[in-house]
């Protein structure tokens, strides 16, 4: 269980969980999900097991519609598994909670709040006093490079800026893990690259554990410590690839292009195989 004192001193990640960097941290065992509506059953996930290590960025790639969002929503506690268990540092995660932050493809920012008030939302919910809230939110707006826009309204921002607010909103609560569901999927290619580089910088600063869902293999190779390649629906793990290279990575390097090509081929086979 979470100890009150330790939560307060929680600085720079999940100190309170007692799990060391690189140790297995989120344990997903035999996860399954079947959607049922009227007489139609859709088996989205079948027998999915994965250990996520503390401090790593693990990305999940797979054909569209294979069940990536379903997995992430179950980790977030927004969706109940049909079978299997998910634990974070030993605690089962059945309900959503501030220990698991989420970044949404369509940003999910509250349009009636200013930028900084959006970032403060989680702290406000947790009952953090006003001044501390401000201070912490300002710090994270600085990390994502939006300190000048703290009083702007959401609909004045570009897509890339909106997602930076979404990332700051998740980071500021110092969650054990941040779950990102195709966070840059709604952005144009150039903004996407800028955001990826920005995320790499944030990783340097925070040691944040991140589960990153994407359908862009390029993005996965650029960012990840490990890549989980899913089979087509019902999703299970086809292969896990470790990428020990330091970041930032050079997209033009031969090993980068070779790995990207290999994963693409693998995904293609997954799509063709019947």
């Amino acid at each position: 269980m979470v100890n009150q004192n330790e939560v307060i001193t929680n600085e720079g990640g999940s100190v309170h969980t007692g799990v060391q960097e690189g140790e297995s941290f989120i344990e997903i065992k035999n996860l399954a999900k079947t959607y049922k509506r009227d007489e139609v059953e859709t088996v989205a996930i079948e027998d999915f097991s994965l250990d996520i290590k503390k401090g790593e960025l693990i990305s999940v790639v797979g054909p569209s519609g294979c069940g990536k969002t379903t997995i992430l929503r179950m980790i977030a506690g927004l969706l109940e598994p049909t079978a299997g268990t998910i634990t974070i540092a030993g605690r089962p995660c059945k309900e959503p909670g501030p220990d698991r932050g989420m970044v949404f493809q369509d940003f999910a920012l509250l349009p009636w709040r200013s930028v900084i008030k959006n970032v403060e939302l989680g702290l406000e919910i947790a009952g953090v006093p006003k001044e501390e809230r401000r201070e912490r939110a300002e710090k994270y707006l600085e990390i994502v490079g939006l300190e000048k826009f703290k009083d702007s309204r959401i609909n004045e921002l570009s897509g890339g800026m909106k997602q930076r607010v979404g990332i700051a909103r998740a980071l500021v609560n110092k969650p054990d893990v941040i779950l990102m569901d195709e966070p840059f999927g709604a952005l144009d290619a150039q903004t996407r690259n800028i955001m990826q580089a920005g995320l790499v910088k944030i990783l340097d600063k925070t040691d944040q554990t991140i589960v990153f869902i994407t359908h862009s293999v390029d993005e996965a190779v650029f960012l990840s410590d490990r890549i989980v390649i899913l089979t087509k629906r019902p999703a299970s793990i086809r292969e896990i690839i470790e990428i020990p290279w330091p970041r930032p990575r050079d997209r033009a390097s031969p090993e980068f292009t070779a790995l990207r090509k290999r994963i693409l081929e693998e995904l293609e086979r997954e799509n063709v195989l019947e």
Binding site: L78, P96, G101, M102, P111, W112, L121, G122, I125
Partner: protein, 265 residues
């Protein structure tokens, strides 16, 4: 120096708007004037006679009461009906927006009652309940239904990913309501208020005509009419129009302002 209209200049845009609006009003008065001279009947006074009657009404009052007595009397009924509608429609709309079962249960009743013209209720409420509260209830009915349907719609329109986002930030049920659902619904509540005020103001004037107890502008105009005071009658029409325009433009301005503040266009 020649003047060139520039659509990107807000002063030019406003000037144009003001000029065209003024021309529209002048044209209206002119047509009225011509028609009143051609028609040559007591029933249709000229604009000048009407303005004189209007000035008299505000200076001398009517039947021993001042103009402001009549106006305030109507406004009082209007405000009471409006508040009653707010107090009932806001919580009911929120509940019906959230609960599918309750919504299914109540919808048939609403759909039967809603198309009944508010004025059809006037004799029922005024003769059946009381001269005093009857007109208030008529206004209430006029405002209640547009308000209710807008609020239900607003709650249903809440973006489910905003709810997900707040839940992943640890929000409990109450926090979900105060931090996401209620603010999301505010622009729709405002829209309901805007529509409701327009309908409500039409109701009040007509409802007062039924009620021998009321002392508002509706009573005033029907009395003037029956006494053959046509210029005064037309002056009252102007008073009623101006009050109606004031309430709806205020509501419209508020609605636009709040929607913009809330990030909903």
């Amino acid at each position: 120096m020649t003047f060139r209209y520039d659509d990107n200049n807000k002063y030019h845009r406003f000037g144009r708007y003001a000029l065209v609006t003024a021309m529209s009003l002048v044209a209206f008065v002119l047509v009225w004037w011509v028609v009143s001279i051609i028609a040559d009947t007591n029933v249709l006074p000229t604009p000048l006679e009407t303005v004189n009657a209007l000035v008299d009404f505000f200076e001398d009052g009517y039947l021993g009461n001042s103009a402001w007595d009549y106006i305030w009397s109507s406004l009082k009924l209007f405000i009471q009906g409006f508040l009653l509608a707010m107090v009932l429609a806001v919580p009911l709309g929120l509940v019906l927006g959230f609960s599918k079962t309750l919504n299914t249960f109540v919808t048939p009743v609403i759909e039967v009652l809603r198309p009944i013209a508010p004025m059809a209720w006037a004799p029922v409420f005024i003769y059946g309940i009381s001269y005093g509260t009857g007109p208030i209830l008529v206004v209430f009915i006029g405002i209640f239904f547009p308000l209710l349907t807008n609020i239900i719609f607003g709650v249903k329109k809440i973006d489910p990913t905003l709810i997900d986002a707040a839940r992943t930030l640890g929000a409990n049920k109450l926090q979900l309501f105060t931090k996401v659902m209620a603010p999301s619904a505010v622009p729709y509540v405002m829209n309901g208020i805007k529509v409701g005020l327009g309908v409500g103001w039409m109701c009040i004037v007509a409802a007062e005509m039924y009620s021998p107890m009321s002392l508002g502008v509706g009573y005033c105009i029907s009395n003037m009419c029956m006494s053959g005071l046509w210029p005064s009658t037309f002056a009252m029409l102007i008073v009623i129009a101006v009050l109606g325009i004031l309430t709806t433009t205020t509501a419209e301005y508020l609605q636009k302002y709040i929607s913009k503040r809330m990030g909903v266009e």
